[in-house]
């Protein structure tokens, strides 16, 4: 079955550490890719999205993601995390039509 996988379920980092969260999808053909963030007790907010063009996408709050088609991956990165980045991060994909399929999420805890 077509799916989106986030293999890191929980990540704990210290402030100023670098972050990379994995996202892999199993769809063939053209995909559109999204990263959403959910801060504690809040709704999902769009971090960044990739539709086409430069595979390195920059989003809000210093986040970026790289689309690697050959690896079916869209990993999220940030060079230096802050305590305020503590949240749950979701990768999502649209394939045909505008239905989003989400990964299971990665909970990030940043220790001050």
């Amino acid at each position: 079955a077509q799916s989106v996988s986030q293999h890191n379920h929980h990540v704990i980092l210290s402030e100023a550490a670098s972050l990379e969260l994995g996202c892999n999808y199993s769809y063939g053909g053209t995909v559109n890719l999204f990263w959403y963030v959910q801060y504690p007790g809040q709704h999902l907010q769009l971090l960044l999205k990739y539709f086409s063009g430069d595979p390195l996408v920059k989003g809000i709050k210093g986040f970026e993601a790289e689309f690697i088609k050959s690896k079916f991956s869209f990993n999220l990165r940030k060079p230096s995390v802050q305590w305020s980045d503590t949240a749950e991060y979701f990768c999502a994909v649209t394939h045909a039509g505008n239905m989003l399929t989400f990964g299971g999420g990665t909970r990030l805890m940043v220790k001050p």
């Binding site: 989106v4 986030q6 379920h9 053209t30 995909v31 559109n32 999204f34 959403y36 809040q42 709704h43 999902l44 907010q45 769009l46 999205k49 539709f51 979701f90 999502a92 649209t94 394939h95 045909a96 039509g97 505008n98 239905m99 989003l100 989400f102 990964g103 299971g104 999420g105």
Partner: protein, 116 residues
Amino acid sequence: DAGITQSPRHKVTETGTPVTLRCHQTENHRYMYWYRQDPGHGLRLIHYSYGVKDTDKGEVSDGYSVSRSKTEDFLLTLESATSSQTSVYFCAISDGTSGDSTDTQYFGPGTRLTVL
């Protein structure tokens, strides 16, 4: 933030009772969605709407029905709530008009539903 509100924000109910959750948007967007969020599953699509009176099923539609009589309102009904429907429910709207895969979805604040 997109103009999306959900009501109620919290609800506790008993097994077997009907429950209706409301999503209201002020963006006049065509597409609206209902998701449920459960630990380890991310968000899963329950139902969606592509216009007034036009709805379709998502991945986990069993036990749920929806209605959209106005562009701005999308209702999710649990006809007879069960404990397995305890979850956080999110409404979303899409900024697209043609259902293209480049549409971006924006989410409401969520409703936490507990079924005892």
